[in-house]
Symmetry: C2
Subunit: 404 residues, 2 copies
């Protein structure tokens, strides 16, 4: 069955490439919707959605854009317009995938459009800058980046091969008959290296109870990706096992980089969530020797790992973290429980482990209990986070609130 694929590009600078992509896709039996996000020079052919329409959808007329001396106005308006057009088409079932080709600016605009489409919708960016840091462009989304290797300045045997591969990839993706259709309730689980053993116990126990576990590496991007999938309605429940990102966020640690919306989507959508202080015992920073310990942490306990090491969180930080987490959970519209292991929160924090400080963890527990509204139960489990007993308690708690 023929599908409709959106092809985005700045037709003034990438017109030949966009046309070639269009032709290749059509030759393989699918329809294309060409969207022009360029504003300057002439275009070699007529787009299905012309730049004037895109600009208008973005809130300005093309002359208004051209009158602005600020280049960012054009970039933002064309991105906003294309976002609106792509989402309208997708919501009315008229869009099966998106492919785009661009340099630095084109990649910025087109990935901005792709980031607004739900997970699973094929999104392919052919980019001259794919071999640079694309963390801002990809973010928490299932964007596929194809490095063009060469500069896209017209068609030649090399650019044709790259673009034909891209056309093949987007065609092959939209032809997939596998949908995003859970057969069992999906539970989001955050996972952090030092609590992996516990997370693996959780996985088995969740599956035994009829759930499917979707894991997110709690490294900044992962936690935010889980928030995204909650917002998209993909997940039915959350076991936020590794809230470690909040500790790293305090000092720009390795797993920091979360946005303000972390730990808020489940509450906002009212889906059940169980929260665990996995990894809040340590701040993970990039240093690997006594000489390279950041000065402000010289008096802390250290868990040496690889090129990264864990610094013990202080009592003061425990309070701050409890305040942050309580503030977010108190806003939740759905059921929430907090489950806390009393014998350690990661492999760095346990009997005999370098960051073991039960009295410091107690500061977090006390502060959290003090601040949480009374409807949010805090369950303390006399086990280590990586022990099966703890996983069982966490999973049983989630299972209970999911069946309410």
């Amino acid at each position: 069955m023929s599908k409709a694929i959106m092809v985005i590009g700045t037709l003034d600078t990438k017109g030949d490439e966009v046309r070639y992509l269009k032709e290749q896709i059509e030759a393989r039996g699918h329809e294309t919707i060409v969207v022009d996000v360029g504003v300057l020079n002439e275009t070699p052919f007529q787009a299905d959605v012309a730049r004037q329409e895109v600009a208008k959808a973005g809130g300005l007329s093309l002359p208004e854009i051209l009158a602005s001396s600020d280049r960012r106005v054009a970039v933002q308006t064309m991105m906003d317009g294309a976002i609106k057009i792509a989402n309208e088409l997708h919501q009315t079932g008229k869009l099966s995938g998106v492919v785009a080709v661009g340099g630095g600016t084109g990649t910025h605009i087109c990935t901005g459009v792709m980031r607004t489409l739900p997970l699973g919708v094929p999104k392919l960016m052919v980019s001259t800058v794919a071999s640079r840091d694309m963390s801002q462009e990809i973010g928490t989304k299932d964007i596929t980046m194809m490095h063009s290797v060469i500069d896209m300045l017209g068609l030649n045997a090399v650019s044709k091969k790259i673009l034909a591969n891209a056309a093949g990839a987007i065609v092959g993706m939209v032809e997939t008959d596998v949908g995003l259709t859970p057969t069992r309730p999906l539970v989001g689980l955050t996972v952090f290296g030092f609590c992996t053993e516990g997370a693996m116990h959780v996985k088995s126990l969740l599956e035994a109870r009829g759930y499917e576990m979707v894991a997110f590496h709690a490294n900044g991007t992962g936690g935010m990706a889980m928030e995204d999938l909650v917002d998209q309605g993909v997940l039915s429940g959350v076991l936020d096992f590794a809230t470690h990102e909040f500790a790293d966020q305090l000092y720009g640690g390795y797993c920091g980089g979360i946005g303000p919306g972390r730990l808020e989507a489940a509450g906002r959508r009212g889906i059940p969530q169980v929260v665990v202080p996995g990894g809040l015992d340590c701040i993970v920073l990039e240093f690997d020797s006594p000489e390279t310990i950041p000065p402000q942490f010289r008096d802390r306990k250290i868990f040496w790992y690889d090129f990264r090491s864990g610094v013990r969180t202080s009592k003061e930080e425990m309070k701050t973290l409890a305040q942050t987490i309580a503030g977010k959970l108190n806003k939740a519209r759905g059921p929430v429980k907090v489950v806390i292991p009393l014998r350690g929160w990661s492999e760095a924090d346990g009997e005999g482990a370098p960051l073991h400080e039960p009295e410091t963890n107690q500061v977090f527990i006390a502060e959290l209990k003090r601040l949480l509204r009374p409807q949010i139960e805090v369950i303390e489990v006399d086990a280590h986070i990586n022990e099966p007993e703890f996983a069982e308690a966490a999973v049983a708690t989630l299972d209970e609130i999911m069946h309410r």
Copy 2:
């Protein structure tokens, strides 16, 4: 027609995902060759190329790998083994594309394999870390990176959708009937922002003479990508219009990052090359105000651009650059000519432009002439690099040596 697709992964940790990819690809009518690059735990199914074979191809037995306490031994050996296996299969026509799934280590191993396969061979990496900086993993290659969004810890509705899209993408790519088959001789052209106008003249003139131009953005990666495509035999000639990367390389500038092989592939393969000092008038660094000029450049002329600015190269640096370039060109086995514009080497360097210093450029010219072997002609053109007359001279020179 059924094609063979290699599916790589560490079967101990990503076995379910690899099997699902395999099944999805086979369901769409293609064959798979599963290669196991894991070394530790049990695998859920038998790979076509087992870990023992991969290790052996990499130069060690599996027990030898496991006996090493250095994790890097396992990683490097399995990568080396998979590289050997993939290239043997490709060279005997038994491999149409490669797809892999992995976390941090898996991405490192599998992109290492992909980087050794020629441009055009479909290469798709499904990676949990695709939203981090992948510049080392992608490098100068046409690797396509698909962000898995979630952690790959077993199958669920989300990972199945991501992997089905990946299977679709690699299948769609290998089904492409467009090959890398030039109909006209391909000429590699390096392009740098401040010489773009000149490069556009070159493009028209090359095309008028029956060549196809393949452009490379001279930003470190681009120059090295051109060297790669020369080595792969894709390019028939080189017009190294923007050798600017060498100036930036002196001080870690914006377009630095070239490897030691820059400006050497054409000479090594003996294909015709014309070299132009485009952009050697300036070192481009990231600063945008008098306060942020790096101290050692405070007494230099500055070309203010955007968040980057150009610092005038000194007479001393001109000598160094001439020595570097002459050393490389003197080793060339094929025809080489140097064509130099006397009225400026970029838009920063011309009559009235901030970095205009003809006497400094003369130091480069004199030193280059002194060092080049006599067979390498230096042609001086009384024009600016961005003027049509200069482009005509450069293209005519290349055309002449390509017809010898």
